[in-house]
Each structure stands twice: as C-alpha cells, then as structure tokens.
Subunit: 413 residues, 2 copies
C-alpha cells in the first residue's frame, strides 16, 4: 500500500512552494515515511520478533493502515479511544500499553469488543485493586479481557516492582474467570542516566525471566504468551533479549512508535546509539551479520512556517508556536529556507539561525544581523519529539519530494 | 444566553461522579464561566472601553457566542483559520492580533471576506515588506483590508520598534488604496521582570501617544480609530491609559482571553496584581470608587483523571499527560479527590499530593506513604495556563455545580 498517487498530474496537486497551502502546516515526506516503515519492518523480520507500532505517536489512521499493510502484527495504543481508532483502521490485534481504569473507560472497551468481535485487545495490569475492578465489570458484562502483567522500573511509572506484587496480582486474576492473563509487558524507556545500557539489559532479562517463571507456573490462560517491550530507543536490546530463550509459546513484540517519522532531536540521538550497538553486534560471531541495515531512519516530519516579522536586528519572528510543534525536547530546528517567487528550490537553512523562544502562536529566531531573510520567506523546521508535534494537528500533509501534497491525512486525537 | 439547560432532569444528564464520562476529560464549571464572563464585561463597561476577548484561548465557538451575547465588541483571534471560526460564531468584528503573511493565508482571508461581506476584519502590520505583499494581493483581489499598526516591545516579539519604522510603514500603506490604516495595536504582556509595572505604563503611554500623533497627521483612513492592547495580566493599566486623552475618534479595545476560565497558576498571580492595583486606585480620588469588583475571577477549567497505579510507596500514577493538560507554566495541581461508589462528594485534595512529572499520557504524583488513595480514585486538577490546556481537546465538558454535564462544547483548533 502506498500513499503516493503517481497517476496524478503534479500540476493538479497543491504545492507548498507555490504557496498553495496556508502556513503553518505539518508535513510528512512520503519517501521518508515509506523508507522508515520498511526499515523497521525489515528489522523485526530479521530479528524474529513481531511489531505492534505505538500508534499514539501519529494517531493517523492512514499511517496505521500503512504499518499494518507492511506487516505489523498489530497496533499499540494508549487509551480506549485510541483503541477504537486502531480497530477502525483495520487492526485485529490492539495492545493498550496502559492500565484500564474507571467505569467510563471500561464501558468504552466493552463497547469496542461488541463492535469488533474478532478484535484481540490486550490491556496492562499492575494492581490487585484494578484486577478486582476489571473482574467485577467484565463479569457483569460477560466479556473476556486479555491482560498483560506489567513489570515496572523502580522510580519510573506504572508496573509491578517486586515478586510479591506479581504473585498477589496473579492470584487475584485467577479469581476472575473473565480475566485472561496473556503475557508480560514492560517499558524500558524509563531507564535513563548513567550506565543506562547495562541497567536496561538487566531489567529486560528480569522481565523475560519473570515471564518464563510464570509460564512454568502455568499462570497464563492463553496458548500464545506475549512478551512485549520497547519504545524507539532500546528496541534492538529488547529484540535481542526477548528472543533469547527456548520457549516456543512466547511471542516477542516490539512497540516503537517514533521510528515512522523519526526526528532530528532525542530520537536521532537514541537511534545513533541503536546503530552503534548494531554495528558492534555485527562484529561478534553471535549473529549472522545482516542486522545492521545499510541506511538509517530519516527525519520525515516538518513544520512549515512563514517569517512574519523582522522587527529588530538579529531577530526574526515565525508564525508558528507551541500550538503547532513539540517544544519539550529542545526547540524546533530550522532545516530549509525558501523565498517564494524567487528561489527555484529550498536551500539548507543557515546553521546560525536558531530558535530562542516559543510562545503559543509565535517563535523567536536568532539570526545574524546581515542574514539574507525577508518577511514572507518560508522555513521548514524539524521538531522533537514527534508525538507532541502530531497531536497539535487535525490534518497532516503528506508530500512528495517536489513538495506536492499527495494526501491530507486526518489525525484522531 | 446561558449554557445551562435547567429544564433538564439532572438524572438524565451524564454525571462525572457517577463515572458516566471516560477520563481524562477537560471540564469547565458553568457557574464560574458565567461569573467570569460577566465580571470582565462589567469591568470594561465601567471603564468605558470595549472588549474583543482573545478567542485563541478557548477556540470554542459556544464560548465565543456567550462572550458576544454578553456584550463583547468583537472577537480577537490569531490566525485566518481562527478568524473563520469567530465569524462562524457570529462575530461581526474580528481582530486578528497577528500579521497576515503568505499567499495561502491571504487567500483564506480573502475568501472569508467574500463569505462574510459585513465582517469588519483587522490585521496587524509592522513592516514595509508585508505592506507591499498585502497591497499587491488585495489590489489583485479588489478587496479592502483594515490594518492596525503594531508597536512592539524591544527584545519582545512583533511590532515596530521606532519612529522611523512607523513613518516608513505609514508611507508604504498610503501607496496601496486597498489598505486602510484603522488604528494602533500593542501587546504589553511581553514586558516581564523588574519594574514591570513602570515599564508597562511607559510603553502603553508611548503607544497611545503614537496613535494620537498619527491621528494629528491624518494617517488613518477610517472614522473610528482603534487603540488596542491587553492580555489577561495588564488589562487594567491598558484601560486606564488608553482612555486618558480627549480624542473622540479613538476606540480603546482590550483583548484578554484567559479571564474566561482563569487558572490557578500564572493568571491567578497576574490577577492578584490586577486586584491590588484596582484597590489602590479606589483609594485615590481620581476614580468613582466602583472599579474594584467585590469578587474576583474564578478558576473554572479542570482536568479530571483517574489514579491508574500505585506502584511503589509515595508514588501515584494518573492517567493523563502532556496530551491532556498545559505543563509549561508549572505542573497541574490536584484540587479535588473523589472515590467513586464510596464518597458522597469530592473532597479538597491533600496539599501534600503534588505532581512531580508528566509524560505524554501519564502524570506522576508524589504522595505521603500513608495517603488515603486507591487505584480508581478520581482527581480534578487545575492547570496553567488555560490556552495550552484547551488546545489539547476536541470537546470540553461544561458541567454544573453537581458535576452533571450540561453541554459538550466542540473546540475548533
């Protein structure tokens, strides 16, 4: 499946450089999207793991459909509302990487299971109290609910912290016939700081061993046992460790989300570390040597905006802001500069042009006093991280490499 | 006009405490909304200025209609898309407190003027280049465009910085018959730090004097001359200074936006300073003494969420995050705590419960080890500032004081 409509005459498509799009706009390069899509699918295929990309990143059903068509096992999402979007986009397996808490939310899931009887939906669980609440609700609704036991990181977020919690939780789940324990889940992305790689490795090994232990104890009520981890920073380690056992019932599932558009900030850094580890791995004798892909992920999401004002020397004001772009992992970074009606094509933005501040609807950019810049010039900016840029938009423009708009993709936040 | 449907049987309305709403949800208390609405309208009425509330805060047409019905002169917005929403909500005067830059954006405004022939639309201008671009575009489209000359703050954002810029800009505007200079605008909210009040006062006096000066020079092509300023922090000073002249053609217009729902963070602080200044003013002989309203603005916007996990002592995880609430002016603050099925009514949240972190879809809350809290408990949290909470939601729930949902108001971001 492709978003590209090659039969269309480019002149009939709206073009960014011809100023046929009001700015600011959020654009995704189709070629980079397709590249990243295939890159990650190849990776999981070669590693013998399954992919349930985290859909919360884009919440764009058109992109979910691409991910599923490329071979994803299912979709990961974070909320019951997002689960419905994933099911609507054709996912038959949906992993809600979150606890299901509260009657209103349980009702959403219950209705979803009625509307999609074939849907395999998994939720996380980490407390006896939640097991009781879910057990009661789904006993009343006479529906089965598949659960993954979450193992957390001390000082991190959700998830059981010790063996006693795991034991008590498994016992409680067994009291409720509607609750089916179907696997174990973790999110290692919460481990930061010094010696992160060692601690991530240790944590993942522990999680795998808990899963193997629960298997031995026959705690799972499903034939296939899911063992899932991985954001976009450590998916290589998760793949490595979650296939390292001799238990055929275990299905290792990775859940990266940001890889699809990637970025030029925190995920570019994280991916550089992934690539280093993959190269290191290639040099060992343990693997076949084809795990390190020849090309890397590409940054494919940009905000396009206008220079709106040049009010004083050294300062440009752009017409986008916190309502248009992520700003919590560094400010957006100018990538391209284009003067409509004058330039034949965008040029790489001067490295000296740097954002110094951002407000709701404006961004401040520092420029040299003699910068070649005018009110009405366009800038394309990369942002980090992608999740918090996507959620600012109701529509994402998918463009070709000539800046023609191939498709307007609706988001469903 | 009121959002309250008093004829409805409360039992037939969905209720937050009965868990009939999936959480997280963004709610606005109708009583506080109505209070704030009337508070600000009374203020401007008494001060002899007009109100064009900044609609970008809520981007909720149902609230725009309330503001207009309460007596607002028009609506302020930040973009051409927002201008269309304001016009659609019935505003006949729309002040776009922003430069109109780029063909795609000019086309949106041009189409809007065609669709709403009675609409009085004003845009800001601060550069000769932009005047040329607008002049050319609107000469081609044969439409008139009303402009307000923006005066900026040094080191701040958009707006002319000196008399030479103002002079050159006025000259350029005069070359283009379609461009109508209709007034002067500033945003004093960019002045921060030490001696802010003195610097704000001085800046506002300068802006007023520039307007008076341009009037003397007959630079305005409209009968009525707009003199506009004010976010939600200094509107009292703007009102004070922008009426302090003897020029009947001048129409002073305030543009606060956040007052409608207020907050418990930066705008609560700013409003405390406003109230102090109003009290100080009452004690002088200059005013009649009825400018200080008996009650203050009320915080009316909350995020309701569940306690999703209590994974380790001292830590609770809530099921909302950066995608649900503002987090750039302090983290959300727990206000109410409610245990569904047990508590008769929400209690004030323990002051020791404090957010320590926020991720895309989760928040971390510090609690005492012996806190009376359970998975499945509800929390209501205030946020700051409101603009960046509103834009996370496609629907806002308007509730009565018994937590019944009176109306589901669509946002138009």
């Amino acid at each position: 499946m492709s978003l590209s409509h090659n039969t269309q005459n480019p002149r009939s498509m709206r073009n960014l450089l011809r100023e046929e799009i009001p700015l600011p706009a959020a654009v995704v390069y189709n070629s980079r999207l397709q590249h990243n899509l295939q890159w990650m699918q190849n990776f999981v295929n070669q590693r013998g793991v399954k992919l349930a990309p985290h859909g919360k990143t884009t919440m764009t059903p058109a992109f979910f459909r691409l991910q599923l068509a490329a071979g994803a096992w299912g979709m990961t999402i974070a909320t019951p509302q997002q689960a419905r979007v994933a099911a609507g986009a054709g996912a038959t397996r949906v992993l809600m990487a979150n606890q299901l808490v509260g009657r209103g939310n349980m009702q959403l899931v219950s209705a979803l299971l009625v509307d999609y009887p074939q849907l395999e939906l998994y939720c996380l669980i980490d407390s006896v109290e939640n097991a009781r609440q879910l057990g009661q609700f789904f006993a009343e609704s006479r529906q089965n609910l598949k659960l993954l036991l979450e193992i957390g990181v001390p000082g991190g977020r959700t998830g059981c912290r010790d063996a006693a919690q795991v034991r008590a939780l498994c016992e409680e789940i067994q009291h409720w016939p509607q609750l089916q324990l179907a696997g174990v889940e973790t999110y290692e992305g919460l481990i930061h700081g010094e010696c992160a790689e060692g601690r991530v490795t240790e944590h993942l090994q522990q999680v795998r061993d808990i899963c193997l232990d629960l298997l031995t104890q026959e705690k799972f009520t499903t034939e296939s046992v899911i063992l899932s981890g991985a954001g976009s920073a450590w998916y290589d380690r998760v793949a490595d460790i979650f296939v390292d056992h001799n238990e055929p019932r275990i299905l290792p599932i990775l859940r990266p989300g940001c890889y699809l558009t990637h970025d030029r900030g925190i995920y570019q850094q994280a991916q550089a570390a992934v690539m280093q580890r993959l190269e290191r791995l290639e040099k060992t004798e343990r693997f076949d040597g084809h795990y390190c892909p020849p090309e890397d992920l590409q940054s494919g999401l940009e905000i396009w905006a206008y220079v709106q004002s040049l009010p004083e020397p050294g300062m440009a004001i752009l017409n986008f802001g916190k309502r248009d772009a992520a700003y919590d992992a560094g400010l957006p970074k100018p990538e391209l500069h284009f003067r409509p009606g004058t330039d034949p094509a965008p040029r790489v933005a001067d490295e000296a042009w740097q954002l110094t501040g951002i407000m709701d609807q404006h961004a401040m950019m520092k420029i040299p006093d003699d910068a070649d810049i005018q009110v009405g010039d366009m800038l394309a900016l990369s942002t980090s991280h992608p999740c918090l840029t996507f959620d600012k938009w109701r529509q994402i423009l998918v463009i070709d490499d000539y800046f023609n708009v191939l498709e307007v993709a609706d988001t469903c936040f």
